[in-house]
């Protein structure tokens, strides 16, 4: 009887511990807003850092990175001239979200061609 009660408590605690969240966005939307509002290097860096935090926390919590955020990070890298790294994140977006295929192909064609 004691073991049955203990098992039930453990199962209950495990159920409570399981997260119901679909994604972890952190303060990425707020940071994006500030990057749009101020448009300076500091706010863009904050936005980039907030996205990195989303990637880390999502991995730690076993969650998928929210839709579009790999692409958003790629666009920031593109602005910094880091084309190779930006393409890595574009590919991550396409791999994680099949629906992003046409959009990612459009961006690659538009911004990643030599001479652009």
């Amino acid at each position: 009887m004691r073991y049955l009660l203990l098992s039930m408590i453990v199962l209950l605690l495990a159920a409570c511990a399981q997260s119901n969240e679909l994604y972890y966005y952190g303060n990425s939307s707020q940071s994006y807003y500030r990057a749009v509002k101020y448009g300076d290097d500091n706010s863009r860096l904050d936005y980039k850092n907030s996205l990195n935090k989303v990637f880390e926390k999502s991995a730690a919590r076993g969650l998928k990175v929210p839709p579009g955020l790999y692409c958003d990070y790629a666009m920031l890298l593109l602005k910094e001239g880091q084309l190779a790294e930006a393409k890595v994140y574009m590919d991550k977006e396409k791999a994680a979200w099949p629906e992003s295929g046409p959009m990612v192909d459009l961006l690659l064609q538009r911004y990643f061609q030599p001479g652009k």
Partner: protein
């Protein structure tokens, strides 16, 4: 019981019933049948149309729409990337979305539907010991397949900016300052997340996708939400 007692009892009952008036609701399936037929997954968010007096409301409002749609299971096309291309193509301020435009958005972006939003009101008011931030917005989702409206809703979010002070003078000063310095964005974000969570059928990536037809929304597709700060 005498006649007067019956009269007073009747009046009291009528008052109670009037106070208990039920908000007319309809199920998601009945309100938005095309959402369940078309099953859109990818949504392109167009820059909001700004009908308010706040010149910069457009950008601030749009920065949380991706998160709000993502949390209810849709794939919102990355806002900044979409806006960059629309700016370059001279379409950022377009307020007319024709079937040809929708068809091109499907062809080039792979969008199943387009979110159109308009900011009707974006302002603060203050009176004595309390202030209110009002965000009045209309949303609609258009299918890129045939340009029909498959979802729409009108929300009015009122953020109450009161004071916790017992002193009436301090309360007036505190609420006036709160109203003057309140940052719109966090409240717009909460309003958008709240709106989509309660009014749109869940998308493909949500655990309750396609089994939420019995959820209810206001029959007239309009809602007033209050957020107390």
């Amino acid at each position: 019981m005498n006649k007067m007692t019956y009269l007073w009892t009747g009046l009291a009952l009528m008052s109670i019933l009037a106070g208990c008036a039920i908000t007319p609701t309809a199920t998601m399936a009945n309100s938005y049948p095309r959402m369940y037929e078309r099953k859109p997954i990818s949504i392109l968010i167009l820059p909001p149309i700004n009908n308010s007096t706040a010149a910069d409301a457009k950008e601030y409002f749009s920065c949380s729409l991706g998160e709000a749609l993502g949390l209810v299971g849709y794939y919102p096309l990355p806002v900044e990337a979409v806006f960059s291309i629309l700016r370059e193509e001279g379409m950022y301020d377009t307020e007319t979305v024709t079937p040809v435009v929708l068809s091109n958005l499907k062809k080039y972006f792979g969008a199943d539907a387009v979110l159109i939003s308009s900011i009707e009101k974006w302002d603060k008011s203050w009176f004595l010991t309390s202030g209110t931030l009002t965000i009045d917005a209309k949303f609609s989702l258009l299918s890129t397949e045939n340009a029909e409206t498959i979802w729409d809703y009108h929300t009015i979010t009122k953020v109450k900016l009161g004071s916790s002070s017992d002193n009436i003078f301090m309360s007036m000063v505190e609420s006036a300052i709160k109203t003057a310095v309140e940052d719109y964005f966090p409240n717009a974000r909460r309003a958008n997340i709240y709106t989509f969570e309660r009014t749109i059928p869940y998308g493909k990536y949500h655990p309750s996708y396609n089994i939420d037809g019995e959820r209810t929304v206001h029959e007239n597709k309009v809602g007033v939400f209050e957020i107390n700060k």
